[in-house]
């Protein structure tokens, strides 16, 4: 504050008065083995606001009848520190009530990256003013969701819906059967494909090692998800057989310096297919969990 180098930065502390509650979902056996998570939906039951409270609110703040609801994933790390990640956020009106759906797929993706034994899925629900500032209303104080009860059987209890695809039907095989020809009916698999470097004119006297390599390629088709799923997610393209994991290819090449040739190692990224998968064009790529 008294440093000569920095102009004093004036600010205002705006009271947000967010109300939060923590949801805990036990996830053991919730995700079938060998399945792909398509979407996780958190359903919260917004309780109706008593009419008298609505009338009082309208008298005090006729301009704003909405509140912002934000869902964060809470990660309790081994060292006991907490980290939160924003998962979904939207405005809800105090005039509405009933089930509200939030997309928490990313939170479950993060949870799946935790090392075992995994903690339950912890979701923080924040209900805040629609916007901060002196004119903001206090509509957020009228937004209440039914919270989790101890027994888990309460009417309007928060629900976590997991939509998955069974990869035995919708996934890829490993390596193709070398004896079987690839046809329209072949399920997505990794097929051997040998690249003969010695046969390439430009590699002559340049690439010393290897003379060739197994690059593999992904061939075959993928089963498309049921209509109900594609109807719900129109942005998803058809599931296609793609290289989901690749690896690099090291080479030894000759490099000419000062009129003399010497050998040098160089590594070409993504040259070999490690794994093939069925994936939809447009599907969100799960964010990596930061350490």
């Amino acid at each position: 504050r008294f440093s000569q180098n920095f102009r004093e930065v004036a600010g205002r502390f705006l009271v947000s008065e967010a109300s939060t509650h923590l949801l805990v979902f036990r996830m053991e056996q919730r995700l079938p083995p060998n399945s792909e998570l398509v979407q996780a939906v958190l359903r919260l039951f917004q309780e109706p606001v008593p009419k008298a409270a609505l009338r009082r609110h309208e008298l005090l703040s006729p301009r704003s009848d909405r509140a912002r609801v934000t869902i964060q994933w809470l990660h309790v790390r081994e060292d006991g520190s907490n980290r939160t990640s924003l998962i979904d956020s939207r405005l809800v009106s105090i005039h509405e009530s009933g089930w509200k759906a939030f997309d928490v797929t990313e939170a479950v993706n993060f949870w799946q990256q935790l090392s075992r034994p995994r903690q339950p899925l912890l979701l923080q629900v924040w209900v805040q003013r629609e916007h901060l500032g002196p004119l903001a209303s206090s509509a957020h104080k009228l937004v209440h969701f039914t919270t989790q009860g101890p027994s888990g059987a309460r009417q309007g209890e928060p629900q976590l819906e997991l939509h998955t695809l069974d990869l035995r039907d919708y996934g890829a095989q490993d390596n193709c059967d070398p004896e079987a020809p690839v046809t329209q009916g072949t399920r997505c698999c990794r097929q051997e494909m040998y690249i003969d470097l010695q046969g390439m004119k430009w590699a002559e006297n340049w690439v010393l090692e290897p003379p060739g390599f197994l690059a593999y390629e992904c061939v075959g088709t993928c089963q498309q998800p049921p209509e109900t799923l594609t109807f719900k997610w129109p942005f998803l393209g058809p599931r296609q057989c793609v290289a989901s994991e690749t690896t690099s290819l090291p080479l030894i090449v000759s490099v000419k310096e000062g009129g003399k040739a010497r050998a040098q190692v160089v590594s070409l990224p993504n040259m070999r297919v490690q794994k093939c998968s069925c994936a939809s064009d447009g599907a969100p790529v799960p964010r990596k969990l930061e350490p």
Partner: protein
């Protein structure tokens, strides 16, 4: 994987714009030093792919 992709990736990794001109005479006496070969084998293992078919 096409021939162009492999060549393009190699030129990119070596920061070259075109294939270098090397003739047989340049590489005839060239012996791959042990450290270079060891580095190559280590990279090959790390990329844990199927071992490429050697000579």
């Amino acid at each position: 994987m096409t021939e162009e992709q492999i060549l393009g990736s190699l030129l990119q990794q070596l920061h070259l714009r075109e294939v270098p001109v090397l003739d047989k005479g340049d590489v005839e006496e060239l012996v791959i030093p042990a450290p270079v070969r060891a580095q190559y084998v280590a990279l090959l293992k790390r990329s844990h792919g199927a071992p490429s078919r050697g000579k």
